[in-house]
Symmetry: C2
């Protein structure tokens, strides 16, 4: 169950076998079925989740009932409402399951204890936080400054097979464009390839 | 020159005297005069800056030439274009000096070396990154969800004497409101106090 997490950690820091064994009890392994919710808007985000298998998604529902996809998290990705998790305030979005999933959950208390027990994990968490910050700023800059084609290509770079794994309307929502624009962009790219 | 930085670090982690002595050579102390630039849009943000004295500000200039204040950084605050600093891409904003300032600069290479030399600083940096993430999400949520009065009160909580230290039009810009609205909000709060 911890294979993908250890792989992910191993790209950034080196854990001894002993540290790996110390690490696992801080996590709660959990299975989710497609369409289940991991977090619902208004609840406090008690866990950050690492996806070992399957796919999760975070999204926001606006006043008119339209869904806006914030993040796709396939295997090897972390997902949470960081703000709610870190501050204890109610979450402003939902996290649900797009493909049957196996995830590793960790609470804030367990995370803090884990960092005390395995100090080298501070580095891993620092890099994670740093990457969240980068992708958040990138997301804002992209929404403001890039066209649909650039945004689509950016997503394919981060999530190569995303177009095969999620419905087109969700991918369009993530890109902040209409499904029609997404179809046009995809046709255009196929023509040019 | 390092008093305020050590105070800031001390709130989050404990450094030995030896670690403190190891820390200082990684920083470049620098003095700036009011109106000088620390970073200009389009340049790569090579340093993150810790303000020991005075005040810095980051801002963006839109196509119409209007300034939008992103952050005020008085003594005890860090400031940078994190995205540009971490990714090496051109900065999308400027950082200038609002009050004669003494700052401590650190490059990405020096930061990485410092973290190798003093591993406990990973924890400090992780907390910094985490707080940047929180304040960024907060900033977005506030701009979308709060009224002018709530936003003004939020800023006063983080920066108690900001209204006495920066011109009103900059404070209004930071809040995303007109100077007229800011005047109205301040009169209203005085009446109610």
């Amino acid at each position: 169950m911890f294979e993908v997490l250890f792989e992910h950690i191993d790209k950034k820091i080196t854990l001894t076998k002993e540290e790996e064994n110390k690490l696992t009890p801080f996590f709660i392994p959990k299975k989710y079925r497609k369409r289940q919710y991991v977090l619902q808007q208004g609840d406090i985000c008690k866990y950050i989740a690492f996806v070992e298998k399957g796919m999760l998604r975070s999204f926001q529902v606006d006043d008119k009932g339209n869904e806006h996809v914030i993040q796709f998290a396939p295997e090897g990705w972390w997902i949470a409402d960081n703000y709610s998790f870190l501050t204890g305030s109610p979450s402003s979005y939902d996290i649900d399951v797009l493909e049957d999933a196996e995830v590793l959950l960790i609470t804030q208390t367990a995370l803090e204890e884990m960092l005390q027990a395995i100090p080298v994990m501070e580095r891993y968490m620092r890099i994670l936080m740093q990457n969240s910050l980068i992708s958040m700023q990138n997301r804002i800059a992209c929404t403001l400054g890039s066209n649909a084609e650039e945004r689509y290509q950016g997503v394919l770079k981060a999530l190569p097979n995303i177009a095969q794994r999620v419905p087109q309307h969700m991918l369009a929502s993530f890109l902040g464009i209409t499904p029609e624009t997404l179809s046009r962009v995809r046709r255009q790219l196929l023509k040019n390839s």
